[in-house]
Homo-oligomer: 405 residues x 2
């Protein structure tokens, strides 16, 4: 800990947007104000891109009602970026920080972003420029280590849960096989949320759930679906976009290769999974071929809706996203040089979390996975997950069924 620096602050939002990432930005602003921060508070347009070019938005004098509206707006309102800054990029950023007298750097994002935060902190130090650098957690994948869960996931999980509630009832009304592909490259938390609306004592779907933590076998998948169809005449399936075979090859990429196509990769080397219905259609075709002509097989890919839907948030998720941003500001203003905020659950009968500082190097570029104990038979999710997720996601709609369903 050092004496807090004089100067200005900048906030960036990186990676995929979420429904509550603006809550975190507003949390930082409010945290700075609560600590009587005297400098300017900037937002960087498009994250590292704006920091490299000096494209800063002045948020210092935003009135509370505008902050509140902004906090309630989905997606990254400052603009995002998927750029993984190289050495020269980071130097350009620090030069802009010097020019704008920015001594406080807040970066809201996932594990790639926490790594960027670490690089910025180290580069500034190497350049002899003193600054506070804090990472504020965000990811719909819920895959940051040392966190009980991550802001953005709760709201996306609520979307997925409510989508499966409705779609499961749709499938009950017009029976057949329905496959829904959910976001999640390496972690199955969001796909697991598909089970949260299942009501005990019913035939509610999803009946099968496939996550990246379990190897995916297309033949076994078809047999699983067939067995469920034989049992209840229909089957709703939740599939993570990141499912892969036992050799680790993503099914989405495998499909593209089979069709003689190349898959797009981002700056971090990640294969493009979202923004295409190819995986879902491939799985539907496989099931159709297996079940034979006449089978009603449909597939939807939830796509970007699940991360940025307007007007659908988990209240706890929104609250925690804001508090995590405020905590980062509080710690920076207390003189701490750098760190990442982790949301950690307090053991006890009622749901409670605390916001703790962890080292950037402990969270950067690591991935938290769905505990294997929560995966049942490689194709379902246990009640332990439901107990874990329920308070984070919040209340789900109440539904009613006729007798026999």
């Amino acid at each position: 800990m050092t004496t807090p620096l004089q100067g200005n602050a900048v906030i960036g939002q990186s990676g995929g947007p979420t429904a509550v990432i603006n809550q975190s930005a507003v949390g930082v602003v409010e945290g700075l104000k609560a600590a009587s921060f005297a400098g300017k508070i900037f937002g960087a347009r498009h994250a590292v891109d704006g920091m490299m070019s000096g494209d800063f938005l002045d948020l210092t004098d935003w009135p509370q009602d505008r902050l509140d509206r902004f906090a309630g707006t989905p997606s990254s309102g400052l603009g995002s970026s998927r750029r993984k800054p190289k050495e020269d990029d980071v130097k350009a950023m620090v030069e802009q920080f010097q020019k704008f007298d920015i001594r406080y750097f807040f970066y809201i994002g996932g594990n790639d972003s926490s790594d960027t935060c670490r690089i910025v902190s180290e580069t500034a130090t190497a350049m002899g420029y003193d600054m506070h650098a804090f990472h504020v957690p965000k990811t719909v994948d819920n895959d940051l280590v040392l966190n009980d869960h991550t802001p953005g996931w709760g709201s996306a999980a609520k979307f997925v849960a409510q989508a499966f509630m409705g779609d499961g009832l749709d499938n009950q009304a017009l029976p057949g096989v329905k496959i829904n592909v959910v976001m999640g490259r390496h972690a199955g938390f969001l796909t697991a949320a598909s089970v949260l609306g299942r009501r005990p004592g019913t035939n509610d779907g999803p009946h099968l759930v496939y996550v990246p933590e379990a190897d995916f076998d297309a033949d076994q998948f078809c047999k699983d679906v067939e067995a469920k169809v034989k049992e209840i005449g229909r089957c709703v399936v939740a599939v993570s976009e990141g499912i892969h075979d036992k050799d680790g090859a993503p099914m989405a990429a495998k499909l593209a290769a089979m069709q003689g196509k190349e898959v797009e990769k981002d700056a971090h080397g990640n294969v493009q999974l979202s923004g295409s219905g190819a995986l879902a259609d491939f799985l539907a075709a496989a099931v159709k071929a297996h079940l034979g002509e006449g089978a009603r097989v449909r597939a939807d890919t939830f796509g970007y809706l699940q991360r940025s839907f307007a007007g659908l948030v988990s209240e706890n998720d929104a609250k925690e996203a804001r508090a995590a941003g405020a905590k980062a500001a509080e710690l920076a203003c207390s003189g701490i040089s750098n760190g990442s905020i982790a949301i950690q659950r307090v053991e006890g009968d009622t749901y409670q979390v605390e916001y703790n500082r962890i080292e950037l190097t402990d969270v950067a570029a690591k991935t938290q996975h769905l505990p294997t104990g929560w995966i049942v038979n490689g194709n379902d999710i246990s009640d332990d997950f439901v107990k874990y997720a329920a308070p984070i996601v919040g209340e789900l709609p109440v539904t009613e069924r006729v007798d026999g369903w």
Copy 2:
């Protein structure tokens, strides 16, 4: 008008589910009770299928709290069917009606369903079996003639509007081309709803909207996208699943043919459009080829989520769906033999509707289209549509942007 018959009643839900079709079923139950209906009130499981086999659920003694929960549950809770009953099927239905002493037939559905209602009514008459047969309107497509709008559309439109609000902000954060395919085989009302969340004075999307009422030209489409990308660096597009070229061939079917595939058809001869991401992916590939390598082009297909999402309804839509069901019961109990309920808007400064009886033959198997005057340049939707739709869809979330966006 005749003296109302003694006997029991049956309710069926046909075609695609909606978020409020159970409101209409409960509306019928409540309307019958309000008219002191003395018979049993049955629900037919899976519509005509249950009516042919006598699979009836007794709803007569459901307490109000169960009715309320059922009304608030999305999708067709009695089960649906896409069967277009043939002559023998309808005879089998009437035989079951005789067996169960059913004299009141309420059928909730779209234009195919109103035609089924007409056939049932005529067949019963021809068989010398007196009964009341009423059609209650429902369709997310909003394509029933003589109706100002149709229950189910308002809630689906709200989903589409909120999805585009969030996804447009997602595209603002991570710029590129985003194509979203929305339900709508012949009518563009639901796709048009994509514009309802656009805020004046911003670059909010969707920037291009393509509906089935305008011929679709893939080359012109690519040029439209390119022009928008040149102007603001990004482009959000709303596309109806039912878009077709100037010869009337659905683009989805054309694509399937180009890939050497056959398209699935339902009993009414309709090509399967939903439950596949093929059209969206085809359009994305076309744009990518046009803009060249490196262009960020993504596509999502909203799929079944937009019609059955749990916990997202337009309040007016829910209220009107229930009232339409109640009105059908009221008219039947007053002795009217048959008809369809039409929701018609009362001219005036404040939004108000009335529920009027129209002839089954006037609504059956006809399609209402988006007025061509509401389509701007073949790729956008006018404010006249917004004025029309706003009170039906209801309040949308409030959002806030940084300066310059």
